[in-house]
């Protein structure tokens, strides 16, 4: 990290209970190679103990610390301050869109979690189904496949970025459809039926903002397209094949 410190103003979204929101400003001395979350945590520790924000793992495996930083969805624990600001600039910190605000920077993502459960997304998967790197062939262990935590960390950034999700709470949203895609790889005929509806895989309008903001290699936009092919494939199959 560099020794040169920057002076940055953080403009933070505040909202308690059902009061109308406002923005509080905090002037901080930061290291440009600090993460945005470090600064938010310091605002709480040294400036304002009433601030609420969610965080846990601090290395992009838990998905708790998603916020909008200068209007763009970021996983704040891996976003360097120098990526999004300059010395002397203002950084706007807001909660994710398209979820109800609990308070300040905390949103209620229960719809995301229940949707993931509904489509049967598996939190851990065999490595062969979600290879860790595309250029490395997954090595299978003698007695089966390695198991690994799934790519999707359920951070909600994609749903916040999705233009369709801003107007309809019914839409499953990118993360859940990507989860459905993962669940449909081995079997998952039920999942395909579930997403073949107005609020499911056909609601996407290809803005690809989900893929743009995804911090965890899920590429929901791509998964939605794959899911469409899977749904159409199974439709065609049931049309000609086993139609009992």
């Amino acid at each position: 990290m560099s020794t040169q410190k920057w002076k940055v103003t953080f403009k933070v979204h505040r909202q308690k209970a059902n009061n109308s929101p406002n923005y509080d400003e905090y002037k901080l001395e930061v290291d440009p190679e600090e993460y945005v979350l470090d600064a938010v945590e310091r605002i709480w520790a040294f400036h304002d103990r009433s601030l609420t924000f969610a965080h846990a793992c601090h290395h992009s495996t838990c998905g708790a610390c998603g916020m909008r930083v200068n209007g763009v969805e970021k996983l704040t624990c891996i976003t360097f301050i120098h990526e999004i600001a300059k010395n002397g600039s203002t950084i706007k910190i807001e909660p994710l869109r398209n979820f109800p605000v609990i308070s300040d920077l905390v949103v209620d993502m229960s719809t995301l979690y229940s949707g993931m459960e509904m489509v049967g997304q598996r939190p851990i998967v065999p490595l062969s189904e979600e290879p860790a790197a595309s250029d490395i062939k997954p090595v299978k262990a003698k007695d089966g496949d390695y198991i690994r935590l799934s790519d999707c960390i359920e951070c909600g950034l994609c749903i916040s970025a999705c233009p369709v999700a801003t107007t309809t709470s019914g839409y499953f949203g990118p993360a859940i459809l990507a989860g459905a895609r993962q669940a449909s790889i081995n079997g998952g005929a039920e999942t395909l039926k579930l997403v073949d509806c107005a609020d499911g895989v056909w609601r996407c309008h290809s803005a690809y903002e989900c893929t743009e903001v995804c911090p965890s290699f899920v590429e929901p936009g791509k998964k939605i397209m794959q899911l469409r092919r899977a749904v159409l494939g199974s439709r065609i199959k049931s049309l000609f094949g086993s139609r009992n």
Binding site: M1, K16, A17, Y35, D38, E41, R42, W44, A45, F46, R49, S50, L51, T52, F53, A54, H55, A56, C57, H58, H59, S60, T61, C62, G63, A64, C77, I78, I102, S103, V106, M109, S110, Y113, S114, M116, E117, P123, I124, L127, A132, A133, V139, A141, Y146, I147, R148, L149, S150, D151, I153, S216, F217
Partner: protein, 387 residues
């Protein structure tokens, strides 16, 4: 309300596991947490599901706890565990020397291990330093910290436990007999202050246990000891890689999602609420991590962070302090009734810490129900939000 009401302070690993244990025994439980779920030490752990090999030489009590709990967690919460095993690898003469003591330790603690040939180990983990001299396979694992806690919390919730996040404890309410009868709390989501009464208060605040105990005028000899961890953007290994040496800095490399995480260090701090990342320690992790996995040298860093372990003990410092846990009944130590502190330990032993704490709580409340958490599979972590 027929059942005794227990308030647990802290939604870290011990807090959520104790909430689950007590709720399963039928008690009325409320968890108070000032931040989000596991936002302190627990959320920032390595994520190593210890087999005990790390402690089997110097701290066999901890090692035995680890291997017991490792096997139980694999059964009750497989949903958050990468159960791919681990390796202990020797890289130099010193490591080879240490391996004799280590093997004796494994035998003593009943940690299963299997020696691998040079060829075997490099076939399993091709990115491992080819200079590896000795390698043993052990039943380590990796877990997702937040989701592990959520699975416990979800199950606790399904048994009636309530979780109140973003709520600070501002004061402990103590009656004139010297008994803790509740808390004054500040709900920061609504900016609202009120009182909450309980038959028993459990202080499960880990490294912060001393600060909460201090509110009651009680004493807990907890020694907050932070360590750094650094995540790199490539999953070089599928197993937890441990250096076969006396626990030291940066001697563990773990896979997690598409990353590897290298940890950790050990030092002491005064201010717990914000522990800055120290540059020199990040550099040290790179150097030490690269000794095990040379590829780390050229990997992109993804995140660097600090977690503060709650070590127990007076006199000793850092790594020489035992990693076991301790439950304090403040009636015995400070003549304050209705108040119990649980601290120390490691993530791997969360269930056992909760069991011991719940035993004490139940005994003090005259509740006679056996612990059943070792046999009770946990609900999906997502149920925490659905319930």
């Amino acid at each position: 309300m027929s059942q005794p009401h227990v308030i647990i302070i802290g939604a870290g690993f011990t807090g959520v596991a104790t909430a689950h244990d007590l709720a399963l025994r039928g008690l009325d439980v409320t968890v108070i947490e000032r931040g989000s779920m596991v936002c302190g030490t627990s959320g920032r752990t390595h994520g190593l599901l210890h087999c005990g090999g790390r402690y089997c030489v110097k701290d066999q009590e901890s090692a035995i706890e680890c291997i017991e709990e490792n096997l139980i967690l694999r059964k009750i919460v497989p949903q958050v565990i990468e159960p791919n095993g681990g390796l202990f690898v020797a890289l130099d003469e010193g490591d080879i020397e240490y391996s004799k003591e280590w093997l004796e330790g494994c035998e003593a603690c009943q940690i299963p291990y299997k020696q691998l040939t040079h060829q075997q180990v490099l076939k399993l983990e091709p990115y491992l330093n080819p200079e590896v001299k000795l390698a043993y396979e052990v039943p380590d694992g990796t877990f997702d910290p937040l989701r592990l806690a959520l699975a416990f919390a979800a199950t606790a919730k399904s048994n009636g436990a309530k979780f109140q996040l973003y709520t600070d404890v501002t004061e402990l309410i103590i009656d004139n007999t010297g008994r803790v009868t509740g808390l004054k709390i500040w709900d920061r989501t609504k900016d609202e202050r009120r009182e909450l009464h309980a038959d028993m208060v459990v202080n499960a605040t880990g490294a912060w246990a001393g600060e909460i105990a201090d509110m009651a005028g009680a004493n807990v000899p907890v020694r907050p000891t932070p360590g750094v961890m650094v995540a790199y953007e490539e999953r070089f290994v599928n197993r937890a890689i441990n250096r076969l040496c006396k626990p030291s800095d940066g001697d563990i490399v773990l896979p997690q999602r598409r990353m590897v995480v290298v940890g950790t260090t050990s030092f002491e701090v005064e201010d717990l609420d914000y522990v800055p990342v120290v540059d020199e320690q990040v550099d040290l992790m790179l150097e030490r991590g690269a000794a095990l996995i040379p590829g780390i040298k050229n990997a992109q860093m993804r995140g660097a962070y600090m977690a503060t372990r709650p070590l127990i003990g007076a006199g000793l410092t850092g790594r020489s302090v035992a990693r076991t846990f301790k439950c304090f009944d403040h009636k015995e130590s400070d003549d304050i009734d209705g108040f119990v502190t649980i601290t120390g330990g490691k993530a791997t032993t969360l269930r056992q810490m909760a069991e011991k704490t719940s035993d004490i709580v139940c005994q003090k409340l005259d509740v006679e129900v056996e612990c059943a958490t070792a046999e009770t599979p946990l609900l999906s972590y997502r149920q925490y939000y659905a319930l």
